[in-house]
């Protein structure tokens, strides 16, 4: 079990409220920009997509790849981040 990034821990530590997408682990300025263009400007919208895909890792990563050309590392981080957040707050 690898340790998680500081960004991950920050995100998972509290309710997401109105945080922008870039607060999600694995999503930097570039991906954040692309997501915003696609209409995903807030973290909770990405969460919505994550939930709509029934928390399925494979599908979610595929979606990340499609919508903002995320690498598997990036989408994996983002997935893990949302998953841990959900385990905590949902």
């Amino acid at each position: 079990m690898s340790s998680t990034s500081q960004k991950h821990r920050n995100f998972v530590a509290e309710p997401m409220g109105e945080k922008p997408v870039t607060e999600l682990a694995g999503i930097g300025p570039v991906l954040g920009k692309r997501l915003e263009t696609a209409g995903f400007d807030k973290a909770y919208i990405v969460l919505g997509q994550y939930l709509v895909l029934k928390k399925d890792r494979e599908l979610f990563q595929e979606w990340m790849k499609d919508v903002c050309s995320a690498s598997s590392k990036q989408s994996g981080d983002c997935y893990q981040c949302l998953k841990d957040w959900c385990d905590e707050f949902l």
């Binding site: 709509v52 595929e62 979606w63």
Partner: protein, 683 residues
């Protein structure tokens, strides 16, 4: 306090039950039905004083037809045919004692158990003898206890019903003329069909140019139409080479005239494109052997325009999103092609219903416009006069019929590839179909919306390549099957399996032993497969690897049984009896499964394997296959019995035998083609 309460509840239930009891006794059908629909009471209760349940009563009342209808209503409302009263009598017993064969059929179909004994130790069979109800006795022996081989004379007839030739766009229906049918035996009929295909592929061919012309007309591409006409002339000369009779040659020429009359088709086009006129075009071909009926699959004069537009939009969508998916790369080319065609033809003519025929998406003329693939279905009518059962058997021939449109001598394998490489049909799926397809493959998708659709399309493609092996229903196969599903190594070394089978077979061939039910070689083992899972596997099998076919095959099996030659489809009789009476549910898992399949308008796939063996051998094979699949995966009620040398084998070897038998069964299935059985009232 609590006791009082319960008593009160029971009191009201009994009161209502007694009312129902009176209604049944009066034979007031409408009231009974209304009563049961309105008040949800538990009807599987033995009434005090009367000593029987309401179903017991319904089975035995006079007159007989009222009794039958009552029984039907009660069963539909969940009546339990195995409810025993204080003497251990069940409705099944009552039906036997009173000689109500029709009622008995319904009861057994709903899961009634004729071998259940009452407190005097008498089963339904015993009662049939005791009360001298020989009709009932015969029925029980013919349908329920299939071990009785006394009536081994042929109890059924099988007639060729019709032949269906299907391509992407057209279904042509052929009915046999009486002289073609003249008393051929069953096996020769299949040869007959093959002959017929060979003979008539020329005639059938002639129909396709028109249809293809049609498509091209829509695309407004004169060049192509011309080249096609040229092709035909080529073909014509080739036909002469083949020494076809002058007769057929002549028809070919007349055909030629019709085809080159492109203007004519266009005229019909411009006037109006009512389906009637369209058909009249085909009726012009008064060719020998032309089909009795041609249907255009996506022909619908009213909505086709709209449909075509939607489709274009959807195709565009796919085109724009699926940039990085390699699967869709090739598809894109087609899509682009197609959409361009759509658009260009759109601008030309305001509305033209013909376009619908182009909208079938993947047409096989993509790769050079050279070949049409037609799959051939043959329908037989199975009739058992004694039991008054009619079933339609649909056989899907394994090798598709290749209808060459130009003169390339492409071998069938190439054709198959060219089709497979074009646009996957799944692109056209609407959200519901897509969901259904995914579910069928054992995947449970979330909401399919615009934002998730492409993902699920990709998922579907991926699943088709590597299906989910173990479905998440909590049921598992035996270790042997699980292993075989994980990798295909075992297929390369079958020797240990073959050894086992030989050992078993040699033992059964020993005539000096006494076998259960004698040594008449009249038995076989059968598997019932779910066509919704197989999806015409034999046709796909040549394009995919054997292991994948194996996985699908194993997943599709839902029943293993033993049958005898005189009535090969008797295992479907029960389900059919219920089907005819509009039942949708049954307590018997096997019957339920068959009813489910039929209500989706498809036939049960029935695979008869290991024909002409002695009963003991068939029983053993059945048992081995049930063991290897695991009872929980099947709708079988109990495991089978082993005979001969296999009876002393350890479980592992028995399962290995079962695995190998299944493997052989699959090979038989793949070479024989799919046979779907359905009652005669489903089309």
């Amino acid at each position: 306090m609590t006791n009082n309460f319960t008593f009160k509840i029971m009191g009201t239930t009994y009161k209502e039950l007694f009312r129902l009891y009176d209604l049944i006794q009066n034979g007031d059908l409408r009231c009974i039905d209304k009563f049961l629909t309105e008040s949800k009471i538990e009807i599987n209760v033995i009434l005090p004083c009367k000593g029987i349940g309401v179903l017991h009563l319904a089975v035995g009342i006079e007159p007989i037809d009222k009794s039958k209808q009552c029984t039907e209503i009660l069963l539909k409302h969940g009546g339990d045919p195995n409810l025993s009263n204080d003497d251990g009598l069940t409705p099944v017993h009552i039906a036997v004692i009173w000689g109500r064969v029709d009622n008995l059929k319904l009861l057994l179909g709903c899961g009634g158990d004729p071998s259940r004994r009452d407190l005097d130790g008498l089963s339904a069979f015993d009662y049939a003898v005791k009360e001298q109800q020989w009709d009932v006795f015969d029925y029980l022996h013919n349908v329920v206890d299939q071990s009785d081989d006394s009536g081994s004379n042929c109890g059924y007839s099988l007639e060729l019903n019709k032949v269906l030739v299907t391509t992407d766009q057209v279904v042509a229906e052929y009915e046999p003329t009486p002289n073609e049918l003249c008393q051929n035996t069953m096996c020769r009929k299949s040869e007959l069909i093959r002959d017929w295909c060979d003979r008539n592929s020329l005639v059938i061919n002639k129909l396709y140019p028109t249809i293809i012309n049609d498509t091209y007309l829509v695309d407004n591409d004169q060049d192509l139409a011309k080249s096609l006409t040229l092709d035909l002339t080529d073909k014509l000369s080739r036909h002469t080479d083949f020494n076809t009779t002058i007769d057929s040659f002549k028809t070919c020429t007349t055909q030629e005239v019709d085809i080159s009359g492109i203007q004519r088709l266009e005229i019909t086009d411009e006037h109006s494109s009512k389906p009637k006129q369209r058909i009249s075009v085909y009726e012009n071909f008064s060719l020998q052997g032309s089909p009795t009926n041609i249907t255009h699959k996506n022909y619908n004069s009213k909505t086709s325009l709209k449909k075509a537009r939607q489709l274009t939009e959807r195709l565009f969508e796919v085109h724009s999103i699926s940039n990085d998916s390699s699967d869709y790369d090739r598809a894109q080319a087609v899509v682009q092609n197609r959409t361009n065609e759509f658009l260009s033809s759109w601008e030309d003519k305001g509305h033209n219903t013909r376009r619908s025929s182009a909208s079938s998406g993947v047409s096989s003329n993509y790769s050079g416009g050279s070949i049409l693939l037609a799959s051939v279905h043959v329908e037989y009518k199975y009739e058992d006069k004694e039991e008054d059962v009619v079933l339609i058997e649909k056989r899907l021939l394994v090798s598709p019929m290749v209808l060459p449109v130009d003169d390339t001598d492409a071998n069938p394998d190439n054709t198959v590839l060219s089709v497979a490489s074009s646009l996957p049909t799944s692109v056209q799926f609407d959200n519901n179909t897509l969901r259904a397809e995914l579910m069928r493959l054992g995947f449970r998708p979330g909401p399919i919306q615009d934002s998730t659709r492409t993902l699920y399309l990709k998922k579907l493609q991926a699943l088709k390549k590597t299906p989910i092996v173990v479905s998440n229903q909590g049921k598992t196969y035996s270790i042997e099957i699980e292993k075989s599903l994980r990798s295909n190594e075992w297929m390369s070394n079958l020797q240990p399996y073959i050894d086992l089978e030989t050992k078993a077979r040699v033992d059964f061939a020993n005539p000096n032993k006494k076998w259960r039910e004698g040594t008449a070689k009249t038995s076989f083992t059968y598997l019932l497969l779910d066509p919704r899972v197989t999806a015409n596997l034999p046709e796909k099998a040549s394009k995919q690897n054997l292991h994948l076919s194996w996985v699908t095959f194993i997943n599709s099996i839902f029943y293993v049984g033993k049958g005898k030659r005189s009535r090969p489809y008797s295992h479907l009789y029960q389900a059919r009896t219920l089907w005819k009476r509009d039942f949708k549910t049954s307590k018997d898992k096997k019957v339920q499964c068959i009813l489910d399949i039929w209500s989706e308008k498809v036939g049960v796939v029935c695979l008869h394997v290991f024909q002409n063996v002695i009963p003991a051998e068939a029983f053993t094979y059945e048992a081995a296959m049930i063991d290897v699949l695991g009872l929980s995966k099947l709708t079988n009620l109990k495991t089978g019995n082993y005979y001969g040398v296999t009876a002393s084998w350890p479980l592992k070897e028995r399962r290995m035998l079962g695995l190998y038998l299944l493997y052989k069964a699959m090979l038989i299935f793949l070479s024989e083609g799919e046979r779907q059985l359905r009652p005669d009232d489903i089309d």
